[in-house]
């Protein structure tokens, strides 16, 4: 039964991607991309990757789609006809595809428990992680404790993306007299429903942040969901009100604070005599030390991702009053 679901979902995914090639309306292409992300999140759940499905649904179908729509509002909706023919790209794609399919015939068959990937490292983590780290969610224990340095690099990459976007675009406070505050002034239903939904979304973001140890979740998903709540507020009530609630300066401080929190956990454990990011030294009992370490670094990751996603959205949304659009 699970194989049938797998087959059908993957076929739907292929059809969606195929349709994106032939469309010229960019709005429809971005919507199809959102559907593609949601379908891949479903397939990830079917393949037992619940954490990855969570992240793909919130990041791919949430933030990516919102940012692309924000870009479309500035660059126009239709793609123009291209002058060069498409025979050469088609030929390159077919040759590469044939070579790759010939390569996949050598791969180990899908799902067998004695594939090479399931030997050596993975059984060691699966057996030792309840004893050494003590968390039920093994993905969190590998992400935050065994491979904590990679996650530190990932947080710094997200922070660098914020620096890149802010230095390219910058966040400008709108002049109140020139532009309307929000195009959604007359949508009373949307105002009321947004006021009901936004506290629930923030609560859910906090739940996901602190329950990443026991189920799917963690800092990244929580940061993105929290940013989505504030993005909804900015869309419905207008950007000046959103600036009054969470100003861009506060977001810049929060983004740097998250990365510094992560680094300071590592430095603190070094000052106690261990390696960088060695959580065993954070408390007297190593398991309790692991719990503290994972809690604090996930908090740092969540704060940074939230601040970065929201400031990127502010940067995109405050470009809309530029005059050379169309």
């Amino acid at each position: 039964m699970a194989e049938l679901i797998n087959l059908v979902l993957l076929a739907m995914l292929a059809l969606t991607a195929l349709r994106i090639i032939f469309l010229k309306d960019l709005f429809a292409i971005v919507m199809l991309f959102g559907i593609y992300s949601f379908l891949s999140a479903l397939i990830f759940v079917n393949l037992d990757a619940v954490d990855v499905a969570f992240t793909e649904a919130s990041v791919g179908a949430g933030i990516s789609t919102v940012l692309m729509l924000g870009t479309l509002a500035l660059t126009g909706r239709q793609e123009k006809k291209s002058s060069h023919n498409s025979i050469l790209p088609l030929f390159v794609v077919c040759v590469t595809g044939a070579a790759l399919i010939y390569g996949t015939l050598d791969m180990p068959p899908f799902g067998h428990p004695d594939n090479p990937i399931h030997q050596h490292v993975a059984p060691r983590y699966i057996e030792e992680s309840p004893k050494e780290v003590g968390l039920p969610n093994m993905v969190t224990s590998v992400l935050a404790s065994y491979r904590g340095f990679d996650t530190f690099g990932e947080t710094v990459v997200v922070f660098a993306a914020a620096i890149g976007v802010l230095s390219l675009l910058g966040v400008r406070r709108r002049e109140k007299r020139n532009t309307p505050e929000s195009g959604l002034e007359a949508h009373h239903v949307l105002h009321v429903v947004a006021k009901v939904i936004i506290p629930l979304v923030i609560l859910f973001a906090l739940y996901v942040q602190f329950h990443g140890d026991f189920g799917p979740g963690g800092g990244f998903q929580a940061g993105v969901i929290g940013a989505a709540a504030f993005i909804l507020y900015a869309l419905v009530f207008g950007l000046p009100k959103a600036f009054a609630v969470v100003s861009p300066k506060v977001l810049q401080l929060m983004a740097s604070f998250g990365v510094l929190l992560y680094a300071s956990v590592g430095l603190f454990s070094m000052s106690k005599g261990g390696n960088f990011l060695d959580y065993n030294k954070l408390a007297a009992d190593p398991l309790v030390g692991q719990h503290y370490g994972i809690l604090i670094i996930e908090l740092g990751v969540g704060i940074t991702v939230f601040a970065v996603m929201l400031s990127i959205f502010y940067a995109f949304d405050s470009q809309a009053e530029r005059s050379n659009i169309k």
Binding site: A186, H187, V189, L190, V193, V196, I197, L200
Partner: protein, 114 residues
């Protein structure tokens, strides 16, 4: 428990039927506003029936509460989205099919009288 299984499968099949009818309506209906109505059927009645069918499959524990939360959240957000879509189209000046046909008739009458 056999009765519960039968009822839950009836609910699930009815929910699938409404979802499919919403999808078919999205293609077949001639006008934007009728298409929004067809799409919002999947938001409301299909979601209620499918989640109701799933509720009868689990025992009365945390999963039931989670499914009820999902249902409540879907009921609040999806009809709002359809409403916002239709309202934005209306404010943007989109006319329904009946109004388009009326305008064409008035245009023809003006041509005839000129």
């Amino acid at each position: 428990m056999f009765v519960l299984d039968i009822i839950s499968s009836i609910l699930l099949i009815a929910g699938v039927f409404f979802g499919l009818s919403g999808a078919v309506g999205l293609f077949k209906f001639p006008d934007f506003f009728t298409r929004v109505h067809a799409a919002s059927i999947t938001d409301s009645i299909a979601a209620i029936l499918i989640i109701g069918g799933l509720l009868l499959q689990t025992s009365f524990d945390l999963n039931t509460a989670k499914l009820l939360f999902i249902l409540a959240f879907l009921m609040i957000t999806s009809p709002t989205a359809s409403h916002a879509l239709a309202k934005s189209a209306r404010h943007g000046g989109l006319l329904t099919l009946a109004e388009v046909k009326e305008e064409e008739k008035e245009g023809k009458q003006q041509e005839q009288s000129n």
